[in-house]
């Protein structure tokens, strides 16, 4: 840079002149730098989402009731899982909380299946995949409808007796065990309870693509 400046200056001036200019140049850059930082730091900080600053680690905060008719269907027990819808209050950004519709898959296990669940789902009982609530409650298991691979919604295919994700072909057995395809783990059970005769779930989103269960968000 110095070489170019020397060429461009038609009059480099006396040594005092040059030293004065160097000082002014550095002072100007310094002032510009301070102004720039005071603008840039708050501006960039303003982009940090709330959820990164104070991630919501509270568990079981929001219980949402499942639809009665759909839960009756699950209780009456077919060999197929039952898709159940529910709705919870969700605050999207600056909008006031409003109903957000979601769905889950429920299965009812026979007593023998309850016993074999642990064997079928070792991923739930390794330290990394462990969930902090019981997966089987009153012989019911409720699965999040989100595929653990990349977040698509999988479907039950009765002819194959498998859950199959349409996006990348991940396949899961009726107990949610990973059978085929790119998914890194089995399906994610959600907290489930019975309260005042109502079946309720909590909506939890786990991080996709991880063999471990990392909570991203609660409803």
């Amino acid at each position: 840079m110095a070489a170019h400046e020397a060429q461009a200056y038609k009059d480099p001036g006396s040594p005092e002149e040059q030293s004065r200019r160097t000082f002014l140049a550095n002072a100007t850059l310094g002032i510009g730098g301070v102004i720039g930082l005071v603008i840039a730091i708050p501006s960039l900080v303003s982009l940090i989402p709330e959820s990164l600053i104070k991630p919501d680690k509270s568990i079981g905060g929001v219980w949402a009731p499942l639809s009665d008719a759909e839960f009756k269907q699950l209780e009456s027990r077919t060999d197929n899982p039952v898709k159940m819808t529910f709705s919870f209050q969700y605050a999207d950004g600056y909008f006031p909380p409003q109903p957000d519709d979601q769905f889950v898959w429920g299965i009812k296990l026979t007593p023998e299946q309850v016993e074999t669940f642990q064997q079928k789902r070792p991923d739930l009982y390794t330290p990394a995949g462990k969930i902090t609530y019981p997966a089987v409650v009153m012989s019911f298991v409720i699965f999040s409808s989100i595929c653990p691979h990349l977040g698509c919604r999988y479907e039950w295919h009765p002819e194959a007796t498998r859950f199959i994700c349409p996006c990348h072909g991940s396949q899961f057995g009726i107990q949610g065990q990973h059978l085929a395809g790119p998914a890194p783990r089995g399906l994610d059970p959600l907290p489930f309870r019975e309260k005042d005769g109502k079946a309720e779930v909590t909506w939890i989103q786990y991080k996709s693509q991880e063999p471990d269960r990392v909570i991203v968000a609660y409803s």
């Binding site: 002014l24 102004i35 603008i39 708050p42 900080v45 303003s46 982009l47 709330e50 600056y94």
Partner: protein, 501 residues
């Protein structure tokens, strides 16, 4: 480092071009007198940067404008500070623009060969004021709503094209979500793009002609020679830094306030941004002119501001005096001083009037009405108890709304009417006369020629009974009888019901 720069220079020439540009001599030497323009440019950059970050959150619609603004205040980390910088940066930019313009006027720097630089500068001033006006609406709080309502209705009082202009600005007959979208588009894309283009033009002309410098009788000693970089830029940076420190302190200790969300049915005493106080003062004075209120409003809202901008643009050609010496330009300097005194006086007058009204908690329809009127406007609305039934003040405020929605397209937002077709309401003896006659005209319509103040009007008044509730008709009549200098008793819904067809 040298290797990389040499590589870049060989392929782009950027290094030598930048060096040549920066190390150019400043004719007459660098001076702190030149910092007003550069500090304005600094504020423009500050506005662009903070504005970009605000758009990461702000969403223009009636459902989200207020909510997203509040979210920036309450939830976004340091969001309140970014908004504060943007708010006070706007004030600083406009203040510096005025100072920059005043200096150019005093020094006669608009004279040949810098006429076009001056014209570009005036356009930049106008566009910056439009930026201030459009930005004022975006938070969609009470003041944003009512102050913008006033501004839009001023535009609607322009003869001939008023209604079209008003609807183009609002995106429909009234203010709503489309208005926010339009103001957002103007504020975020249209005006900044124009302003950047003009700023580049302004600077290119500046580099071509050099700085005009002070007139010979202010400073005729030989200024030391110096270069743009770093001599002049150091002075510019120092001035910008001082301005920035003030903006930061204001953003921290005087953060801009967010009112309640816009609600057209609530009473609210709207106040304009400080740089529009002088115009607002003219409007208030126009409202005091009694029977001449319509023509006075036209002068206050359109003719005087329009003439002022036209005069400023034409100034380099109107002022043919070749001298820039202060002593030889008494006319221009006198007029400039007079304008400054008038603007400051009007602003102080408005500010005091607004403060007084806010202190009194006065429910002037003047302030919620489409058109701000003099303090002497609607007495009925202020007293409230004069109006039969509860919520008299609210009814009068509602009257302004009913009028704006249903009546102003023919009778004008300022009640001026249309010659030959629709009679004026301001200064109309029938309007302030027998209430029963006014109610009958509004409720059951009127066709055929009518004579008002010696002039004939031959439009057609529709019958509003059935289309509007008795309460709305009463509110609108109360409004027209107490606005634009009219002073007459309010009417109630019961009065309206009593008048037979």
């Amino acid at each position: 480092m040298n290797g990389l720069l040499a590589w870049l220079e060989q392929r782009t020439g950027l290094v030598s071009q930048t060096t040549d540009f920066l190390t150019e001599d400043v004719p007459g030497g660098p001076s702190y007198w030149y910092v007003f323009g550069s500090a304005t440019i600094f504020c423009m950059i500050l506005q662009i940067v903070t504005g970009i970050f605000l758009t990461f959150y702000y969403a223009p619609s009636t459902a989200s404008a207020y909510e997203s603004t509040k979210y920036i205040y309450d939830n976004v980390p340091l969001g309140w500070f970014v908004i504060g910088l943007h708010y006070w940066g706007a004030t600083a930019m406009i203040a510096l623009l005025f100072m920059h313009m005043l200096q150019t006027l005093l020094w006669g720097a608009y004279k040949a060969p810098r006429e076009l630089m001056w014209v570009v500068g005036i356009l930049m001033l106008v566009f910056t004021l439009v930026l201030g006006l459009t930005g004022y609406l975006l938070p969609w709080d009470m003041n944003a709503y009512f102050a913008s309502q006033v501004a839009i209705n001023i535009a609607s009082s322009v003869p001939l094209v008023g209604t079209a202009v008003q609807q183009l600005l609002s995106g429909g007959p009234g203010m709503g979500t489309l208005t926010i979208n339009r103001f957002f588009g103007l504020h975020v894309w249209g005006m900044p793009a124009l302003l950047i283009l003009l700023a580049v033009g302004h600077l290119v002309i500046f580099r071509h002609n050099g700085a005009a410098g002070p007139p010979a009788d202010v400073d005729n000693k030989k200024l030391p020679q110096g270069r743009f970089w770093p001599d002049q830029l150091f002075m510019d940076a120092l001035a910008s830094f001082l301005v920035f420190v003030v903006i930061v302190l204001l953003a921290i200790f005087q953060p801009p306030l967010l009112d309640a969300k816009a609600d057209p049915t609530q009473k609210f005493i709207a106040y304009p941004a400080w740089y529009f106080l002088a115009l607002y003062g003219m409007l208030r004075i126009a409202g005091l002119t009694g029977n001449f209120v319509a023509i006075a409003n036209l002068f206050a809202t359109v003719l005087i501001p329009g003439a002022l901008v036209t005069l400023l643009i034409l100034l380099p050609w109107l002022d043919r005096n070749p001298s820039r010496r202060l002593a030889r330009r008494p006319w221009i300097l006198g007029l400039t001083a007079l304008s400054v005194v008038a603007a400051v006086g009007l602003s102080i007058y408005s500010q005091l009037a607004i403060q007084q009204e806010q202190a009194e908690g006065k429910t002037t329809v003047a302030n919620v009405a489409p058109q701000p009127m003099a303090a002497g406007g609607p007495k009925g609305g202020a007293a409230g108890s004069n109006i039969a039934g509860s919520g008299g003040a609210a009814a009068a405020g509602n009257g302004a709304q009913v009028f704006a929605t249903n009546c102003s397209s023919c009778h004008g937002a300022s009640g001026a009417g249309v010659p030959g077709a629709f009679p004026p309401l301001a200064g109309n003896p029938y309007v302030v006369g027998d209430p029963a006659l006014v109610i009958h005209t509004v409720a059951y319509g009127l066709t055929g020629p009518v004579k008002v103040n010696g002039k004939t009007y031959n439009g057609s008044m529709p019958d509003w009974k059935g289309k509007l509730s008795d309460a709305d008709i009463a509110a609108a009549i109360t409004f027209i009888r107490s606005s634009w200098g009219n002073k007459a008793t309010p009417v109630s819904a019961a009065d309206v019901a009593k008048v037979p067809k």
